[in-house]
């Protein structure tokens, strides 16, 4: 059974602007925030997984996006080194929480920006890592050193899709769905080289963060607003669970950003 880490949105809000989605003039509607997060929590709970919760901390509104806590493989946890000072305060809380639960915490060098699962997703036995807006490409090398796996670094070119998990979602049968224009030409080529059966998401659906989905076996929990993608995935035998995510989209996040796998992979052999 998969284990997931979530963080209740008690302190969530748009308090700064560190991506094109965020605008302090357009705050989140608190009751709706609670309702949408509860919707996600309940949906995931109804699927085959176990959910752990970390206590939210005041003044860390984005702590709700646990995907950026770090990357967990087996019993090892690589905490994030956030690029923006606004989020840097989250890292010690996540690291301590993981350590208390017996995970081996492996920090990367402080000068290497790395934003966890938000920029590092396994597709098959390859770890696809995004770089430029948030994570540094040099952090990928350090992650490869720690994990001993093949890391494919792909450049993100559209600031709206600043983490790889906003535009790329690997599937358990070896494919993925993605928004190709979020990657540079070399990134697109290398993803095509390594994965077969790629499902291109049209821009009008990608902007609803349709790729920011939590895949649990044959179940896919994703933000609503992507009827074409849902139809394609259902044709391939997946069950889709679209959820309203409007309040989290205001911060540039959705289902996957709100979730971290513990671990994302048991091992990389």
């Amino acid at each position: 059974m998969r284990q997931l880490l979530l963080c209740p949105p008690d302190h969530y809000g748009i308090e700064y602007e560190i991506n094109p989605w965020m605008s302090r003039a357009r705050g989140a509607d608190t009751p709706l925030v609670q309702a949408q997060w509860k919707g996600l929590f309940e949906k995931l709970s109804s699927l085959d997984c176990k959910i752990e919760l970390i206590e939210p901390r005041p003044k860390l509104p984005d702590m709700v996006f646990t995907a950026n806590a770090g990357l967990t493989v087996g019993r090892r946890f690589i905490p994030s080194n956030f690029r923006h000072e606004e989020r840097a305060g989250e890292a010690p809380h996540f690291a301590r929480w993981m350590e208390e639960r017996g995970y081996e915490v492996v920090w990367l060098a402080k000068d290497l920006y790395f934003e966890g699962e938000g920029d590092a997703l396994f597709g098959g036995d390859v770890l696809f890592c995004g770089y430029k807006f948030r994570s540094d490409i040099n952090s990928h090398r350090a992650v490869a050193d720690v994990l001993g796996c093949l890391v494919i670094s792909v450049e993100l070119v559209d600031p709206r899709f600043y983490h790889i998990d906003t535009c790329f979602c690997p599937l358990p049968d070896g494919g993925a769905f993605w928004f190709p224009a979020a990657f540079d030409e070399y990134g697109q080529r290398t993803i095509r080289d390594h994965l077969q059966d790629l499902i291109d998401v049209p821009e009008e659906e990608a902007v609803h963060f349709s790729c920011n989905a939590v895949v649990l076996g044959r179940d896919i929990v994703l933000p609503e607003g992507a009827p074409k993608l849902v139809a394609t995935l259902q044709d391939r035998g997946y069950t889709c669970h679209p959820l309203p995510m409007s309040e989290f989209l205001k911060a540039g996040g959705a289902c996957k950003c709100l979730t971290m796998f513990m671990p994302q992979r048991e091992s990389v052999e």
Binding site: D136, N138, A144, C149, I152, V154, E155, Y186
Partner: protein, 405 residues
């Protein structure tokens, strides 16, 4: 060319980072050389590449490197040159770096500076304030000047040999071609001169008095009149024999038409010197009509600059002859800017002296009837020299016939 060395590490092959970086260097107007590459054997093994990135301008290189850093390129910090003060006027510090005639860069405060001029057998002076690197001869150095010592922080960029089959220097570089058909080589030399002129390069002619003795004056005059000569270097003898010939029809007393000693011919040289000294200078003698024909007169009429360097056995000398060797060297060096091709004929001493002042990028054509002179000139380290063993008159006759407009 300015350059930086960068290192790429990681899964750079599978991620297509290496090809991306190389493509970006080229599309941004740079160039690269892969110094070292290690490709991981297994799927999870990381690869490594050391790449020398170069660009014609410093700003272009900075832009390229800035972009490459985003893709994980680490820049290898360059070590600065080491400096020591000159202990006295005219003396370099111990271990001073000796220049070549190749384009040279020194790293100072982390930035590359080109050494000017590209002159061999000098030391490099660094001026901290103006951030200039200058090649200095012994006599130019002053006590306390900061001079580069050792080899750290120095980059020499050799002239690339042409790989084009249309370039004469490609197939005969530094060959004196004794056994090759002369007319073919002369044709190639003519093409080279035409190309230099078409491309706006300056053509330097270094000539000895043999041009006059061999009866080649009319041919060289034609080259001057057809604008194939921008600069003439020689000694007292070249000018003097030319003027003696122009005024009296003899060269060292020999009647050039008949080839025999003219009556009282030995006096002609002295009388020629006197005519010019009386006029005040060669230029003045031409302007006042005292000197009408010959190489020097053609130069004055066409405004071709000349430098005449003196030597210990000179008669006279003529007023324009610079008798101080350091001064003569400085005068030559000053005029060499912009020279792309040098035709050196019939004077080993002047040719060697000039060759030592030329940057390696200047193409040199050497013609002498003495094979030893030709080989010494063509083998002195110039990357683009072409030699021909020939008497000067037939050479220049054929060259002018080929070039004739």
């Amino acid at each position: 060319m300015f350059s930086e060395t960068v290192i790429l590490r990681g899964h750079i092959i599978d991620s297509l980072i290496l090809p991306k970086v190389l493509d970006q260097i080229l599309t941004q107007g740079g160039d690269f050389k892969i110094g070292e590459i290690k490709i991981g054997q297994n799927r999870v093994d990381q690869s490594f590449a050391r790449i020398e990135v170069s660009a014609p301008k410093h700003e272009t290189l900075d832009d390229i490197v800035l972009r490459l850093r985003q893709h994980g390129a680490e820049v290898i910090e360059k070590a600065d040159v080491q400096l020591a003060p000159a202990p006295a006027d005219g003396v370099f510090p111990k271990d001073f770096y000796v220049t070549t005639n190749q384009q040279t860069f020194v790293t100072f405060n982390g930035a590359e500076i080109e050494v000017h001029p590209a002159l061999m057998d000098c030391a490099v002076e660094i001026d901290r304030e103006s951030r200039r690197a200058t090649a200095r001869k012994f006599h130019e150095v002053r006590r306390g000047m900061e001079i580069v010592v050792g080899h750290q922080g120095i980059k020499v960029v050799p002239v690339q040999r042409s790989t084009s089959h249309t370039d004469v220097f490609e197939f005969m570089s530094t060959n004196i071609s004794l056994e090759k058909p002369k007319s073919g080589i002369i044709r190639e030399m003519a093409t080279e001169l035409q190309r230099a002129r078409a491309e706006g390069g300056k053509i330097l002619v270094v000539a000895g008095p043999a041009v006059v003795h061999s009866g080649a004056v009319p041919h060289l005059v034609k080259l001057i009149e057809w604008d194939f000569v921008d600069l003439l270097f020689g000694g007292n003898a070249l000018a003097l024999h030319d003027i003696e010939n122009a005024l009296y029809g003899t060269s060292l007393g020999i009647d050039l038409k008949r080839g025999s000693l003219a009556e009282r011919g030995h006096e002609n040289q002295m009388r020629a010197i006197n005519v010019i000294r009386e006029a005040g200078s060669i230029s003045r003698a031409v302007e006042t009509g005292g000197l009408k024909t010959g190489i020097m007169a053609a130069c004055v009429r066409k405004g071709v600059e000349f430098v005449l360097a003196g030597s210990i056995r000179d008669d006279g000398p003529l007023p324009e002859v610079i008798t101080d060797t350091l001064e003569a060297q400085a005068a030559m060096r000053e005029k060499l800017t912009g020279v792309t091709t040098a035709l050196m004929m019939g004077t080993m001493l002047h040719s060697m002296a000039v060759a030592n002042l030329l940057p390696a990028r200047v193409k040199t054509l050497c013609v002498d009837m003495n094979p030893a002179a030709v080989s010494r000139l063509t083998e002195r380290g110039s990357f683009q020299s072409l030699g021909l063993v020939s008497d000067l008159e037939p050479f220049l006759r054929e060259l002018t016939n080929t070039i004739a407009p």
